[in-house]
């Protein structure tokens, strides 16, 4: 009994002390932030003046290059066109499902998803999505090694010499053969076929995620270890480590048609924008902006580097790039 009562008394004292302290703190800082009532009025009048842009639902797929595209366009929509942009962190599959329900309006960077196109583009599917032009970025997929390796053993950059080094590439996972590091399951990969059709003494071990692949390449460069794996550009890692591409038999039309027979390099992929059909039909300045948007791999790498290397928030990185490139931006805004 006595203990309980003491507990309550102490509690009362503490509560009072805490309340006093926070009131004092609050009083000190109250004039630093500007008054809530004033800002509410400003917001109200802004809302009355705003144009007819409305809400834009922007899917943000999980890689930094995509974030660069999405936030540059999204920031322009907000600052120049007065839209309200809802960024939605989603994987590709889920983003495309959202076109039909109005939950997603824009996918800014698509690396090609034949199965999703079949379901959602008009010619074969329900027509809830439509392609909306190229982003100007070119996706390069290939086999890469860390730069130290390319320098120490230049002949490694030709697939014909890879077998000479197979033992050096062996790991705990590759069962005596050389290890080839496969990638995140999101990407189209024919490495198992390429390895076997080119008679390479390698085993494909899947890293399983982009984070795992990036960490592996970073560690291999830092510790001067042998590593060969699937990688791609544009990717922010290239600003940090200049991975070197290994030459495979050149890509020719149709050489990747039969997955089991592939024995050639990957083709270049032109990345495209995809939007919700109903959103595009409504029209408006935001639709035109997405349609006009185009930039280069270098442009994207700059913004991606601001985000990943310099640790900037994506909206700040986008604003910085916009400030540095007024001409390009003006062209998109028409």
């Amino acid at each position: 009994m006595r203990n309980t009562r003491n507990g309550w008394k102490r509690g009362a004292g503490l509560a009072a002390a805490a309340a006093c302290a926070s009131l004092v703190l609050g009083a000190c800082g109250s004039d630093s932030g500007g008054s809530i009532a004033d800002q509410t009025k400003v917001n109200e009048s802004k809302a009355a003046e705003a144009g007819d842009c409305g809400d834009v639902n922007m899917a943000v797929n999980p890689w930094v290059g995509y974030e660069a595209d999405a936030y540059v366009v999204g920031t322009l929509m907000e600052t120049e066109l007065g839209c309200k942009v809802n960024y939605k962190e989603l994987k590709e599959d889920v983003s495309w499902q959202g076109f039909g329900t109005g939950e997603v309006d824009v996918v800014m960077e698509d690396w090609g998803h034949p199965d999703l196109e079949k379901k959602f583009f008009a010619d074969q599917g329900d027509g809830s999505a439509e392609p909306f032009g190229e982003t100007g970025n070119v996706g390069i997929i290939g086999w890469y090694v860390p730069p130290w390796l390319a320098e120490a053993h230049p002949d490694i950059l030709d697939y014909k010499n890879l077998n000479n080094y197979a033992k050096d590439f062996a790991t705990s996972e590759s069962g005596g053969q050389g290890q080839f590091l496969g990638a995140d399951p999101s990407y189209v990969q024919f490495d198992e076929s390429i390895v076997s059709n080119l008679d390479l003494d390698f085993k494909v071990v899947f890293s399983g995620s982009e984070a795992a692949s990036i960490t592996a390449f970073q560690q291999a460069e830092k510790n001067k270890e042998f590593l060969i794996g699937y990688f791609y550009e544009p990717q922010w890692l290239f600003a940090d480590i200049d991975l070197q591409r290994v030459k495979l038999p050149e890509y020719t039309d149709g050489c990747q048609d039969d997955p089991a027979e592939v024995a050639c390099d990957y083709p270049e992929t032109t990345l495209q924008k995809v939007v919700s059909t109903s959103w595009a039909d409504e029209g408006g300045p935001a639709v035109d902006l997405v349609k006009n948007f185009q930039w280069t791999n270098d442009d994207q790498n700059v913004v991606a580097k601001y985000i990943s290397e310099d640790g900037m928030k994506p909206e700040d990185a986008a604003a910085k790039w916009i400030g540095e490139n007024p001409d390009k931006v003006a062209a998109w805004l028409g």
């Binding site: 009994m1 309980t4 009562r5 309550w8 008394k9 009362a12 503490l14 509560a15 009072a16 805490a18 309340a19 926070s22 009131l23 609050g26 800082g29 109250s30 630093s32 932030g33 008054s35 809530i36 509410t40 917001n43 809302a47 930094v64 939605k88 962190e89 989603l90 994987k91 599959d93 889920v94 499902q97 959202g98 329900t101 939950e103 997603v104 998803h113 199965d115 379901k119 329900d126 790991t171 705990s172 996972e173 069962g175 995140d184 399951p185 999101s186 198992e192 494909v204 071990v205 899947f206 399983g208 995620s209 795992a212 990036i214 960490t215 592996a216 970073q218 560690q219 990943s308 640790g311």
Partner: protein, 684 residues
Amino acid sequence: MSATLAPARPEPDASAPPPRQRASIPRWGWALVVVGVWIVVWAFTKGNHTLAMPIREHTDVQDRLTGFRDAVLASRDTNPVIQLTYGIGEWFGSAVDWCQRMISIEDFPRPVPQIGWLGVTAIATWVGLAAAGWRIAVLVAASFVSFGLFGYWSESMDLLIITFVAVAVAVVIGLPLAVYYGTAGRTGTAVLTTILDLMQTMPTFVYLSPIVLFFGIGASAAVVCTLIYALPPIIRIAGYGIRSVSTTTIEATDSSGQTAFQRLRKVQLPMARSTIVVGVNQTTMAALSMATIAAFVDGPGLGQPVLQGLIRNDVGSAFVPGMLIVVMAVMLDRSTTAASQAAEKAARGQVDLRLRRIVLAVAGAVTLALVYYSRQNMSAARFPDSSWGDRVADWVDSFFTWFTETFHGVTQAIVDSVSTVLLNPLQELLAQSPWWLVGLAILALGAIFGGARAVVPAVVCLAGIRYFGLWHDAMITLNMVLVATLLVMVLAVVFGVWMARSKVADILVRPLLDAGQTIPPFVYLVPVLALFGPSRFTAIVAGVVYAAPVAIKLVADGVKGVSATTLEASRSTGCTRWQEITKVQLPMARGSLMLAANQGLLYVLSMVVIGGLVGAGALGYDVALGTSRSEEWGKGAAAGITIVLLGVLLDRIMRASAEEDAVSKNPLQQAKRFPRFPHALTVP
């Protein structure tokens, strides 16, 4: 008092007679025979009928699963079920949105939410004070301030809202089901148990995209996937509590002529109250652990910055929100536990009600004043900027860079030796044997350890694994799960005994265990990858970090439960410390060790998908593949179902063997059934 299932803790009976020796060959002898035969047959047949399959090929069954998903997707505009679930999803979405505008995001045209951080903190502190006393009130206030101080106020509030909505719905749906589970007959219980097993072991990634299809993107999907994972603990634990109300009490009150409903309301529910609270507590913890997964479908909350950090390989910026999830888990765990204790105390009339009312009224008035103040003033509405979060992130970053650079050589040696000594030989046996050989061997081992009771579920599960066409991958995954469980048990025994024997150790280690259990694996994935590279061992490390805490706590509790009299007796006969541990404490805590192994194994299994993201391949990679590429969904779903089947297979064999064990040791003692998946965060 502890928040683990108190009734589940095996309490070895000090007066139990010494184990009766079997006259015939002991069970492990038969098991050795089976393994011996297996190895001999393997030597002649290895490499045949292993059912290995290239990564992008599917079986007909897997294609049919994909086809089913496609058909549902194509019918979404007309399907009445989807219309209904979409309606429910919208309702969840707007409930969450309303809460968000109250406390976490700006309620346009206001530049800030309706109630600012100071007001929210004051309300939460008052609730803590009212429900659990001043200690909890201080803990709550400190936790809320830390959310803002580290720069994640809004995300923290979002996570609280999602957790709160999901737990509220879980209680509404779960309590009636728990009553059914606690009162139903054998068949009803068995059916429900299987469904609950499925809900908890099925990897969330598998049903993420169907959930979006049925409930929409964002908060609604987040609530639903959290709900699916968080519902089972309350049904299991509360049901267990209702079932364990003593039959004498029920008979005594039945004799007064009560109806079944009266019995439930007046006797069973009140007597099971403290267990039900444990159920709610565990449901809350489970809900929190879904935070990062929900972020994959734009679920608001602390999971989003964790995922962002992972995408950028930025350990520091994933670590800070990850730690805040731990803070929130510890806060909710301690306050729900303390609240139930306080309620019991109040029920016994040990609280001065008048003083309590006065304190609460005064504190309430202060709270209202603070709420009002936080609606008017910017600094009380929006948490002032602070650089704490960034500083901690930088510090963590440089620590991990140093750590990985310093220990890189050592860790590679560990990976290589564990792989050659443990992983490779066992995988050779499991995955390179013909499928029928492994199947027969598992059945034989199941029969030896679990008797007839284990054989039927084992046959069903093995047939299921064969049917879904990922046998080879299942065996590789099984191998990793077994090795990880072995490591978990080594840690559990070492740390469990240490914690049980030393109070200081217990106090030091327990918070680390809580953190290991609640911190999202995505936080430590990058440093673990940097240390061990993409490999099966990395996956095992992730599994061990998650599973070891539960096992350690269970072993510690079990060893602590060994009666003091027994220990005294053994000391008086001159036992050394080592003898005391190996001859008295561990054998007496045998039940806890078994429960720890069972739980450890199932927790490891729930990390299989994470393993697929760090180079372990097999079932985990198949699930990740199914989530990433729409045409592979069927294969991912088949892998998910296979994980469930593996879990049920191992669980049933272990449980049957524990029951066999208990019966053979002491026929008089009723075999205790394991309550599974207690998701325990124990409180000292």
